[in-house]
């Protein structure tokens, strides 16, 4: 087992990274430890835990800005936001059930993996809400990126790069995020009994209507049966769902308009506060595929291409699926165990769409063999590698997490030794 170092402050993080750099001893970066199985297995000599780097540094609801340390639990931050009727608009999901992990997820982990829930469709991804950060790069340098205001174009937008980099570029020590008012009311209109293509057409129609949809999903019958929401589980039918949020009169009017619109395709029902919230939490948390260890794929593709893509995959491998983000996010679980977790089938099926497929859940053995992230064309891959070398030239931060290459770089690139030793 690797040893764990748990710095209490930013200086401690910088010292830990500096030591790792000078000893060529790579680190696995861990927050709450709920997502350690995302990506390829990391081969590190030690663990850098950020859980002691915790707490809200400042929260100014009227400025729509919150600054937190990366190890702060999402629970703590969301409670503070809820106290002021605000939220993270990107609706961070909870994948602990999906990944079979416990512990508490941290804001740092959410940002590092760019995890966004159903509202991503309308409100943007986690990375769209990162305004600034302090980071320690693999050069053991502490760097400020971005700012602490909601509108800023000063210098490169490095927040975009750090968000979703899975800790392979830098260790975050402080993060500033944009907050937004939480919708006063939420309601969901359900349409029953559509096949995938008809559901896609219905979602598109709803999204093209002026009803300001904040989430849209399609759940085939087999998956609907697993829902904890009675209206969904007992429907014995596939469910197409669209959500509206906002002030009461607006939500009521839009809900009525959507019932009319979708009612032309089949039976409709509506979910109010608790049921609506539960339904979308299940979608974001991928509850349908929780409690298991079989491979699970996450496809981000053009929404209109989803029915065809899923049909191509299903022709080859038996699978369960459901779609979120207006149809463009497909969660897919092969039923039998293919040798490569279905990678070749899935990636062939999406090849023409330009989208990407990520193997979110798989055994460690599979994650050593199958590219977890969508393989990139050579020029793009080379560019990404050069970017990484700019941040972490010795590959001491989460080495291997985002690539199959896990061999350690034991000799450092053009190093300059300074000082006389000690």
């Amino acid at each position: 087992m690797a040893d764990t170092i748990q710095p209490a402050d930013e200086k401690g993080v910088q010292d830990a990274v500096a030591a790792a750099l000078s000893d060529a001893m790579p680190l696995e970066i861990v927050g709450g430890g709920t997502k350690r199985t995302l990506g390829h297995p990391v081969s590190a000599s030690g663990i850098l835990s950020l859980s002691a780097l915790s707490g809200i540094v400042s929260y100014e609801p009227e400025e729509l800005v919150i600054t937190v340390r990366p190890g702060t639990t999402l629970e703590e931050v969301e409670a503070a936001l809820a106290d002021r009727n605000q939220c993270f608009a990107f609706e961070p999901p909870d994948w602990r059930g999906l990944l079979g992990s416990d512990g508490r997820q941290t804001v740092g982990g959410v940002v590092a993996t760019n995890q966004s829930g159903p509202r991503r469709l309308r409100a943007g991804a986690a990375r769209d809400h990162v305004l600034g950060a302090r980071i320690v790069t693999g050069r053991a340098e502490t760097v400020k990126i971005g700012g602490k205001v909601v509108k800023n174009v000063t210098g490169y937008d490095l927040c975009k790069l750090i968000a979703g980099s899975y800790g392979t570029l830098a260790v975050m020590t402080e993060i500033t995020l944009k907050t937004l008012p939480a919708g006063e009311k939420t309601r969901t209109v359900l349409l029953f009994g559509q096949d995938h293509a008809a559901a896609q057409a219905a979602m598109t129609e709803a999204l093209h209507s002026p009803n300001d949809i904040s989430a849209a999903a399609y759940v085939p019958e087999a998956i609907a049966g697993r829902s904890g929401v009675g209206y969904v589980a007992n429907s014995n039918a596939a469910v197409t769902a669209v959500r509206v949020e906002g002030p009461e009169p607006s939500v009521a009017a839009r809900c009525a308009a959507l019932r009319d619109l979708l009612g032309r395709h089949g039976d409709v029902e509506e979910l109010h506060f608790h049921n609506s919230r539960k339904f979308w939490a299940e979608a974001g948390d991928v509850s349908a595929f929780a409690d298991g260890s079989d491979p699970v794929w996450r496809l981000s593709i053009p929404p209109a291409s989803a029915p065809g893509t899923v049909a191509r995959i299903a022709a080859d491998i038996d699978c369960d699926f459901f779609a979120d983000w207006g149809g463009g996010l497909v969660w897919l679980k092969p039923r039998g165990a293919a040798e490569d977790a279905g990678a070749s089938t899935v990636r062939n099926a999406i090849a023409d769409t330009g989208g990407h497929a990520t193997l979110i859940r798989a055994s460690e053995e599979l994650r050593r063999q199958v590219p977890v992230f969508q393989p990139q064309p050579a020029a793009l891959g080379a560019l990404s590698a050069r970017i990484r070398d700019g941040y972490d030239p010795a590959h001491i931060l989460n080495p291997g997490r985002m690539s199959l290459q896990t061999t350690l770089q034991t000799t450092l690139p053009t190093t300059v030794r300074t000082g006389e030793g000690g």
């Binding site: 170092i5 010292d15 500096a18 750099l21 000078s22 000893d23 609801p61 009227e62 400025e63 966004s116 991503r120 943007g124 990375r127 050069r139 502490t142 760097v143 990126i145 205001v149 909601v150 509108k151 174009v153 000063t154 210098g155 490169y156 937008d157 790069l161 968000a163 979703g164 570029l169 937004l180 008012p181 093209h208 209507s209 002026p210 002030p247 607006s250 009521a252 981000s300 593709i301 053009p302 209109a304 996010l329 330009g354 989208g355 990407h356 992230f373 064309p377 020029a379 891959g381 560019l383 050069r386 970017i387 700019g390 941040y391 450092l412 190093t415 030794r417 300074t418 030793g421 000690g422």
Partner: protein, 495 residues
Amino acid sequence: MQMPEPDSAVIARRGDIVAALRRIVPGEGVIAEETALRAYECDGLTAYRQLPLIVVLPETVDQVARVLRYCREHGVKIVPRGAGTSLSGGALPLADGITLGLGKFNRILEIDYPNRCVVAQPGVTNLALTQAVEADGFYYAPDPSSQIACTIGGNVAENSGGVHCLKYGLTTNNLLGLELVTMEGEIIRLGGNHLDSGGYDLMGVVTGSEGLLGVITEVTVRILTKPPSLRALLVGFGSSEEAGACVSAIIAAGIVPGGMEMMDRAAIHAVEDFVHAGYPLDVEALLIVELDGPEAEVDHLVDRVRDIASENGAVSVRASESEEQRLLFWAGRKAAFPAVGRISPDYYCMDGTIPRHRLPDILSRISEASQRYGLGVANVFHAGDGNLHPLILYDANRPGELEKAEEFGAEILTLCVEMGGVLTGEHGVGVEKRDLMGTMFSEIDLKQQQRLKCAFDPALLLNPGKVFPTLHRCAELGRVHIHGGETRFPDLPRF
């Protein structure tokens, strides 16, 4: 403003470079005559002018790739340019550099309603994107004030904003895909018409990179359904403090207006004289609050905002009752820059962002500095997101006055940073704010930003002299500094 020393060896090779470019871009796409080059000597920051070495106007992506490959192989600098509307000098030419104009990339390639996106060449104007889809009930949300002229490629390069940013985001939040030609002449695709990228978010960092990382040759934007109802409120206040408090109260009430603009007394008077929008003249601050969305929501929120305004000391509140009236409310704000242009021979537009609650502080500091410099100032302000546009009034024909205006501007931007804000909210750093980057970022911060540049353009040929006050060689930035010999942190646990 000091630009990098032109390379006389490159200038001496001008004839060869022109000939080489003409082999890549035939016909009239290579401009070398001084009179024709004159049209490219500046962008929207007209105080700075420089004739480019050559202008090239390619028509195909392949030509762009070959031009960049040629430049890389021959060590020639290159400045990408859209419509040249940048207010920060992002497209300011270099005496020893080629200006690469993308004006001929002016076609919309695909309108894809099922996936709610439009694929366009970079030279398509911002407004043309909306015009292409509005008959079908859609629009492209970011709307910089130059939207008639500015191009989507330039919008991506500058991460342009507009008056609707608080609710709809900047360019970066409305993009799905890019095609980019790198300095190596490689054509790479970032994103597509799906959401989020698989690996590092290169589309995110290219957006707003001010032409320093690559040349954008295709853009895929998200389009939105046009809100069925739009109404605006015109709210007057006796003080900017009250107006600022009203803005905060609106947001605290959970309302995110489509637009929320503020003007100070000087700006109100300048625009009212110009467009007669019916603005109250006896107020110190005027707010325009626009609500958009479903009709039921807009009418409900108009009433709530009206109440909040009254509770916060508004001396006049009017809500638009017709589309004509709404447009009239906006006419003044939209004409603010030309209106100020009428009352002063020249004006200099600043673009800092501050935490909104510091508004009264910065307005009083600006007013104090205005007296000290002897230069007038009118303030317009994207109040929702704290983005301040002070317009400094000066006369370029009076010796020393431009320099004084610039010094005043630098003081304002430095104040923005001191108050917890940033140098630029939407106009970009360019050459204008380049030398102020040190007020916001340390040398280490800036070096790390430049390492990103090195991954894309190790020879520093793309738009040099912009954004960064000091150009570090990439070889120097690439080195890893390790304290040699002994263990540096003896008290740390070892693995």
